[in-house]
């Protein structure tokens, strides 16, 4: 399967998913359309359009999974680091979590030297904490250690 067809398949599956969920919602009457009407029409349309895309694009070519995975190493690292930041920001507190997050990005993804990464991360974490937390008054998690 090539990448164009994969797009069609994705829309078809999402349409199908929403369709099965929409069927559980009340459709109502013409005089009083229910909350299920709109999602039902849309999910049907999405499944149809997904099918049309799937069959209208050329079938030649394949997704280069190995090459794609190699190119996706940096984005994957960013996604994992961000997920870790989201999970640990609450228990660790904003300041340590943002420092570790930035350090991870600078050191592992951007490949800066460790002391440069640590220094810049420290300055940025503290600066952002001061700007957003103190100047703009946004509540940032303090964590278990009240940092």
């Amino acid at each position: 399967m090539n990448i164009d067809r994969a797009g069609g398949l994705f829309f078809f599956l999402v349409g199908l998913c929403f369709l099965s969920l929409s069927l559980k919602l009340p459709v109502g009457k013409f005089t009083q359309p229910g909350p299920g009407v709109f999602p039902l029409i849309l999910s049907l349309l999405l499944a149809v359009i997904g099918t049309l895309i799937f069959f209208s694009v050329r079938a030649k070519g394949k997704i280069g999974w190995t090459k794609d995975l190699e190119n996706s190493a940096k984005p994957l690292a960013i996604i994992l680091l961000t997920l870790a930041f989201i999970i640990f920001m609450g228990p660790l507190g904003y300041l340590p979590a943002s420092f570790l997050y930035l350090f991870g990005l600078f050191f592992f993804v951007s490949r800066f030297k460790w002391f440069v990464s640590a220094g810049v991360s420290g300055v940025l974490a503290a600066g952002s904490w001061y700007f957003f937390g103190k100047i703009l008054g946004i509540f940032l998690p303090l964590g278990l250690w009240n940092l």
Partner: protein, 501 residues
């Protein structure tokens, strides 16, 4: 006369020290995001949303609008000096702008781009001043059926003007509409697709999705392609164009203003489209069209004017009808909604002080931009020396804090991450993301107006053809749909013919 009295009132508000300062900050930040490739006006506005929380609403919209038109202004700098479009609307400027740089005329190209941007921007503001209140008055007569039909036209226009094939764009539109149905149904209170998650009761947040799809997704996509090129740094005294260049520019600037303004009214990628149409127009009108692409000043003047005039044009449906025509405007709408202001037909009559202060600030902002962009060209160019690998962690952190600060919700951070991944894959699949985000924002109104129309007519679909404005708009949308289907079928036939050859 009323217009001028209102405008004077607007200037009084806009000339307060705080508003001038905010306008300046917006223009400066806009120019910077316009200069930096990869961070467009959308991310620029989204990143500053948290900063506006502590501001009163007039100041907030003045600053955000400044970012929007400032980014268009700044986008030409990298196109001319480095052959890298800082903003997608400046792609065309690369063609002749960079060639002028190679011929030693970078200063003149930058000057004409700034001058054209100012003229285009100012003429477009005049257009908003006169047209937006008229359109808003007309829209006051709209019932739900007219609004539904108008939104339908907007969606089919999106389908025709989107960057990809019609089917792909429509798939993105429908996906956006579907995600817009998540949460509590506004008419019956029924929960839809919430799976018991409380954070989803109010629907999927626009801010995390917009920031995720455009900010986060863009960074995921760009991390593999950071590249630093040599930058030409012009001196201030080299900025003046010669007499021939000035003479050759005035007509393209005037034409570009008209083209940009009217294309800006349409939903979709109006800035990109306007600059392309302006470039093609200038090439067609030129005595020696073959010289285009080798450093003609008309190739810089027309497109740069057009994309700035388009920013003004795009403000009209946004302010008068509450329809955001592009993703950057959509994020601006989100910011206003956060401040409790809903742009639309009632906005101008109920909040005239905000509307006219915004108009006045745009005149001021355009002047600030000329003053900023030419003398500070060296500074903006220096920004390009910061490697992308050093910049993106900061942008990611600001995206995260910006999203978190809206509702202090970790769930919205997960939505941001999920949207970023979705945006990354859609970029890889070459799908246009703007229709998706616009549909997500307008979707709930489309559904509401559709159902309200049917309720009002007692379940009769005749409401969609009995009222003349509704009928006209529905016919127009059907014609658009027919045209798109025809184009798609013709495209497939041509592809089959080419394959057979």
């Amino acid at each position: 006369m009323d217009v001028f009295t209102n405008l004077m009132g607007g200037f009084q508000t806009a000339f307060s020290l705080q508003n001038i300062y905010l306008c300046f900050i917006g223009c400066l930040w806009g120019s910077m995001v316009g200069v930096l490739p990869g961070i467009g006006p959308l991310a620029g506005i989204a990143l500053l949303i948290p900063v506006t929380y502590g501001l009163e609403v007039t100041g907030a919209i003045i600053m955000l609008a400044g970012i929007y038109y400032g980014a268009m202004f700044g986008g030409s700098t990298t196109s001319i000096l480095m052959n890298i479009p800082g903003e997608s609307a400046s792609i065309v400027t690369c063609l002749d702008g960079y060639q002028m740089t190679r011929k030693g005329r970078a200063g003149a190209a930058l000057f004409i781009a700034a001058w054209g941007s100012w003229v285009g921007g100012t003429l477009a503001i005049m257009g908003i001043m006169f047209l937006a209140p008229l359109l808003a008055n007309l829209a006051m007569k709209f019932g739900p059926s007219e609004m539904f039909a108008l939104l339908l036209v907007a969606f089919f226009l999106l389908g025709s003007l989107g960057a990809g094939p019609f089917l792909n764009t429509m798939a993105m539109v429908i996906l956006g509409l579907l995600l817009g149905t998540v949460g509590m149904d506004s008419l019956t209170g029924t929960l839809r697709f919430t799976f018991g998650i409380h954070d989803l009761y109010d629907g999927i947040g626009f801010v995390p999705v917009a920031m995720g799809v455009f900010g986060f997704g863009e960074i995921l996509y760009s991390t593999a392609e950071s590249e630093i090129r040599g930058v030409y740094k012009p001196r201030l005294r080299e900025l003046l164009p010669n007499r021939a260049e000035l003479r050759a520019s005035w007509a393209p600037i005037l034409r570009g203003s008209g083209i940009g303004f009217f294309i800006g009214l349409l939903p979709g990628s109006a800035h990109i489209l306007s600059s392309f149409v302006s470039y093609i127009t200038e090439k067609r009108l030129a005595k020696r069209p073959e010289e285009f692409g080798s450093g003609r000043i008309e190739g810089v003047a027309g497109p740069e004017t057009a994309n700035n005039a388009a920013t003004g044009g795009a403000m009209i449906p946004f302010l008068a009808l509450g329809i955001p025509t592009g993703p950057a405007i959509a994020v601006m709408m989100i910011a206003l909604l956060i401040h409790g202001i809903r742009p639309g037909p009632l906005f101008i009559s109920e909040q005239p002080q905000i509307f006219w202060a915004l108009i006045a600030s745009m005149y001021i902002g355009n002047l600030i931009l000329v003053g900023l962009n030419l003398p500070l060209v060296g500074l903006f160019v220096s920004l390009l020396r910061i490697p992308f690998r050093g910049l993106f962690p900061i942008i990611l952190l600001i995206c995260l804090i910006g999203t978190y600060s809206v509702n202090l919700s970790n769930f919205e951070l997960l939505v941001l991450l999920g949207s970023g991944v979705l945006g990354y894959f859609f970029r890889k699949l070459k799908y246009d993301l703007a229709p998706f985000i616009l549909a997500l924002i307008i979707g709930p109104t489309l559904e509401e107006t559709f159902r309200q129309s049917l309720m009002r007519s007692g379940g009769s679909f005749s409401i969609f053809w009995e009222r003349p404005i509704t009928l006209g708009l529905i016919v127009f949308s059907l014609l658009l749909l027919g045209w798109n289907i025809y184009k798609a079928v013709r495209g497939n036939e041509r592809a089959a013919e080419n394959k057979a050859r």
